[in-house]
Amino acid sequence: MNSIELRDLVYRNLMRIAPECDPSELLPGENIREALDIDSFGFLQVLIGIGEETGIEIPETDYAEVFTMAGMLDYLARRQG
């Protein structure tokens, strides 16, 4: 998947949990959960969705790397490569 496809996939999964939000307004360095008001349950659902589409399961020990949009995309690109 190229970076645009990855980004759209993450947006799609965020919107499933926070339907009234527009993830494209997220700044690259902004904390996703805080900005979109997603609780730990919702965030796990987002990660499950991403895992199902990409086959990449993000372990809890890597959560610190995926708190921002930039971190998330970077992480997914690295793991898929």
Binding site: P19, S40, P59
Partner: protein, 386 residues
């Protein structure tokens, strides 16, 4: 014969609208069969039967709004004796004239249930719609016509979960319950620091072994520990009714869920003390999904014996709760943070949470409340036994 009544889905509910019959007259129903969908200020709920038998003719039609306790239908039972049924309201109905927050009387707009539901989904105000039905009643087609057409929008955004209740209605329902709590319940508050390092480390180890779908969140650990601690201090688990405490043998924990479009709902997870962490996690997920989809059952709204609120996700340190009447206690958890922690003469960094208890002083005393928090702490130090 048993009576299937409009249940009270909380201390704040006075009336409900029958939206739809989910079972037909003449149908054989069992305890737990979904009989009807009811709309209240807090949303749309499915009401279950409390009896086995044959459902009689409908005494209330879809669209009718009736007071709590109104018989909706009879249930013919085998070996029929007359037994009162329907969801037994765990809430005491205050005597007429008792101080209750006055709800502003608004003229009810004539509209079909389908129109109401659609209007709520589309966030359209019924007051601004010209009805074309009998006596000017608003019909589904009127609502659809008045909603802004959004060509090309469909599919671009997933539809937000339909909200059966208006935001204002929910606000009023919360206002009524919380006003009653602060007027009638002499609250006392206790707080304690709990070192969660051991529990979280254990959980991280567990989660590493599990596929992502089976991962357990710290909230499940907290709920389970609360249930176990309630086993030791049962007087925090139950209701204050008719000037005395009714301890509940079952532990049904109301789990506060904030709705994305505002408001709060606290459906119950049943028998938390008997669920494994995995089952509890599944129950919480199921409840959150159904809360979003407006598919909660009536009993889940009525039978919580204690409420837990976990505002930690918002970053707050301490939760000072207001008890949801007629319950007698509320347990709050703040955010888990790393903090300096002195133990055995050594200073270390630990992941801690502040647990608070708001309890009804009519039902328990601070000493017992303190014992509850101590038990909660103790259970969280042996997470593998939860």
């Amino acid at each position: 014969m048993a009576e299937f009544r409009m249940p009270s889905l909380g201390a704040d509910m006075e009336e409900g609208t029958l939206v739809e019959w989910l079972a037909k007259p003449g149908e054989r129903v069992e305890r737990g069969t979904l009989l009807a969908a009811v709309e209240t200020q807090k949303g749309l709920f499915e009401i279950e039967s409390f009896e086995d038998g044959i459902l009689g003719p409908s005494l209330v039609q879809p669209g009718q709004t009736v007071p709590v306790g109104t018989v909706l239908a009879m249930i013919q039972m085998e070996g029929a004796a007359i037994v009162s049924s329907g969801a037994p309201p765990p809430t005491e109905q205050p005597p007429v004239g008792a101080a209750r927050p006055a709800t502003p009387t608004t003229r009810r707009i004539a509209a079909s249930p389908a129109a109401r539901k659609r209007a709520a989904e589309l966030d359209v105000d019924l007051a601004g719609i010209q009805g074309s039905g009998p006596d000017g009643a608003i019909q589904l087609s009127d609502v659809e016509r008045s909603a802004r057409p959004a060509p090309g929008e469909a599919g671009a955004h997933p539809a937000p979960a339909p909200s059966g209740a208006s935001r204002e209605g929910m606000r009023q329902a919360i206002a009524a319950a919380m006003s009653r709590a602060n007027r009638e319940i002499p609250h006392y508050y206790l707080e304690t620091d709990i070192d969660l390092s051991r529990a979280l480390r254990w959980l991280e180890g567990e989660n590493l072994k599990r596929p992502i779908r089976e991962r357990i969140l710290p909230a499940a650990l907290l709920l389970k520990a609360v249930a176990k601690a309630l086993g030791e201090v049962p007087e925090l688990n139950g209701y204050w009714l008719n000037d005395r405490l009714h301890v509940s043998p079952a532990i049904h924990i109301g789990f506060a869920i904030s709705l994305r479009d505002g408001g709060l709902i606290t459906p119950a997870i049943h028998n938390v003390d008997q669920l494994s962490l995995q089952e509890l996690m599944k129950a919480m997920g199921d409840l959150i999904e159904r809360t979003r989809a407006n598919r909660l059952r009536g009993s889940e709204m009525t039978d919580a014996t204690l409420t837990v609120t976990n505002l930690g996700d918002l970053g707050v340190k301490t939760v000072f709760g207001v008890i949801y009447p007629p319950q007698v206690a509320l347990v709050g958890f703040g955010r888990v943070t790393e903090r300096p922690w002195a133990e055995n003469g050594m200073l270390g960094v630990r992941r801690c949470v502040i647990a608070t208890l708001a309890a009804d002083h009519r039902a328990s005393d601070g000493h017992r409340g303190g014992q509850f928090l101590a038990a909660l702490d103790r259970f969280l130090q042996t997470p593998d036994k939860l």
